[in-house]
Amino acid sequence: MDNLSLEISNLYKRYKKNVLFEDAALSVKGGDCIALVGENGCGKSTLLNMIAGIIKCDKGNITFNIDGNEVPLNKSWQYVSYVPQHNSLIDSLSAYDNLLFWYQGDKAKLDKDLKEGLIKELGINEYINKRVSRMSGGMQKRVSIACALANNPKILLLDEANASLDIVCKLQIQKMLQKYASLGNIVIHSTHEEGDIGVCNKIFYIAGGKITEVPVTSLKEIFKDKL
């Protein structure tokens, strides 16, 4: 789909003494479901944080284009949602209350989405009134994803969303992500899971400060030089 794209060019980012990105580039368009792979500490989470606008890059450009119009970075939050590695929910509140914040208090819209929207497929209805602190890790992850989808974002960023989840939960999330990308949106998933690679149509490998597209294959194949 050509009406949505994310372009990253000449990206530089240093963290303390480590150079994470050096003249790195990435290009993604609507409908892409991409996987970011790389060793621990290579900068996957940092890249997602920069795309989400949570941290700034030292140098370089990150631009979004929607219907041919460039979206300024300070407006990007409206189009980009982020599911962090550690949940960003308020533990003492219920899933419903957490969702209500991201729906800006619009109960009618939230109730409608829970009944027939994309978040219905996350299967959170059965514990919607349960306090987050009493939920399992998988339940919390689903609620986090639902929160990220509240604003109908064009770009969904996930940081190891499937880590430590049971197989049923993983498959449900993967299915939902595939469907979401098929609607013309972009999914960028930082992952170490073989199953996640399978649902992505592009894989980007981060190493030595560069982001390189690699053929869709197994993780073992990608990391064969390291093994």
Binding site: A52, P84, D91, S92, D106
Partner: protein, 394 residues
């Protein structure tokens, strides 16, 4: 669009605060029990010493009613009173055998002095009109404590004198006087201590106990959810929530809860004690809570880590309370501590709590408390805006 997030953010914080109430109440209960035990022990220790001091009384000229009163006064628990000749009393004072001398004059010549109203005598003492009674202090205990004892002793005299009046069944008492007789404790406390700006020891300790409970329980409570929410805050900020929102939310959710709790507590206290509410007292106690808790917020802002900031808050609270005379009265501490106490934030809020129990406030204490509040708020703003908020630094 962003206003929707902001509105919802404040709603969420309110709901979150409500959910925390059982936890907060449990903490307050535990802290209250510990504080009560501490205050009770200290009161017993120092109260014992205080009540054992010797005070001499000297009559310049014998007076029928005060002779009667002083008989009762001598039986009082506040001090050991003994009648002296003036010269002997002054010598005893010099040798530190007694803590103070009360010189009782014949007040019949005093302007506007109505001997039928002994409460006037007490007012005379505090209006620097020494035509009735003069106190001289020795070096055994400080003027402050002796002053308090003298007041208590004088109160005993006043009460005793009135009791005798009452028993003699005079028929020409005015209604106002009868009202005074019935409510004399309350009347006495309000007039004398309010006007003097001083507070009786029991209220002093009560005020300190409230301050101690507030500081220690809030130190623990503010840590609830601090680190749990940092991820939420990090992402919520993307929606346009500003540093000011985060700053304001802490004040609204945390201080709002505790100040309302204080107001309700003081109102209940007033109702039980006096069958009425005194709004000024309730508002002042809430101000005291706001001042104390703004200090706690400042410390939590400086130290982003929950454990470090909670421990530091407790440490600072105890040190501040000690230096401001909340744990052991300043009278019993070195003069240097008394000098330092003038600059300690906790002094004025705890004095406010103490005064609150009279239902009448001293304007100077309120002003000092407001200045303390302004200082902590400005410092918190400076820390928040220069270092970034605590969550960001985690």
């Amino acid at each position: 669009m962003r206003n929707g997030y902001r509105k919802q953010f404040y709603k969420i914080l309110f709901k979150k605060s409500i959910r925390e109430i059982p936890k907060i109440m449990a903490v307050i209960l535990v802290v209250a029990i510990i504080s009560a035990a501490l205050i009770f022990s200290i009161t017993s220790i120092f109260g014992e010493n205080v009540t054992k001091i010797n005070v001499a009384y000297v009559f310049e000229e014998e007076d029928e009613w005060f002779s009667v009163g002083l008989k009762y006064m001598a039986k009082g628990a506040n001090c050991n009173l003994k009648k002296y000749k003036k010269d002997a009393a002054l010598r005893a004072l010099e040798k530190n055998e007694i803590a103070a001398v009360l010189l009782v004059y014949n007040a019949s010549d005093a302007e506007d002095f109505n001997p039928a109203l002994p409460v006037n005598a007490v007012e005379f003492i505090y209006s620097d009109n020494d035509q009735f009674l003069t106190s001289m202090f020795g070096s055994i205990v400080s003027a402050g404590i002796t002053d308090y004892l003298v007041l208590n002793a004088t109160r005993d005299v006043v009460k005793a004198t009135y009791d005798d009046y009452n028993r003699s069944k005079f028929n020409d008492f005015e209604d106002e006087l009868m009202d005074y007789l019935i409510h004399r404790n309350r009347y006495y406390e309000r007039i004398v201590f309010y006007d003097s700006g001083d507070i009786p020891l029991k209220h002093y300790y009560l005020g300190n106990a409230v301050a101690l409970i507030m500081l220690l329980s809030s130190s623990v409570v503010i840590g609830f959810g601090k680190n749990d929410d940092k991820n939420f805050i990090k992402f919520a900020k993307r929606t346009g929530l500003t540093k000011f929102d985060l700053f304001a939310s802490k004040y609204l959710a945390f201080i709002g809860f505790f100040s309302v709790l204080t107001g309700v507590g003081i109102a209940a206290f007033q109702y039980v004690m006096w069958d009425e509410f005194m709004i000024s007292g309730i508002l002042s106690s809430m101000l005291a809570t706001i001042v104390l808790l703004s200090l706690i917020i400042l410390i939590h802002e400086i130290f982003p880590d929950k454990t470090v900031s909670t421990l530091f808050c407790i440490f600072v609270s105890v040190i501040f309370l000690f230096l401001s005379g909340n744990i052991i009265p300043l009278t019993f501490l070195p003069d240097q501590v008394a000098q330092i106490s003038e600059y300690i934030l906790t002094k004025y809020p705890s004095a406010l709590y103490g005064q609150t129990f009279f239902g009448r406030m001293n304007g100077g204490t309120i002003t000092s408390a407001l200045i303390c509040l302004a200082i902590t708020v400005v410092l918190t703003l400076v820390v928040s805006f220069t270092r970034g908020d605590a969550y960001e630094n985690n």
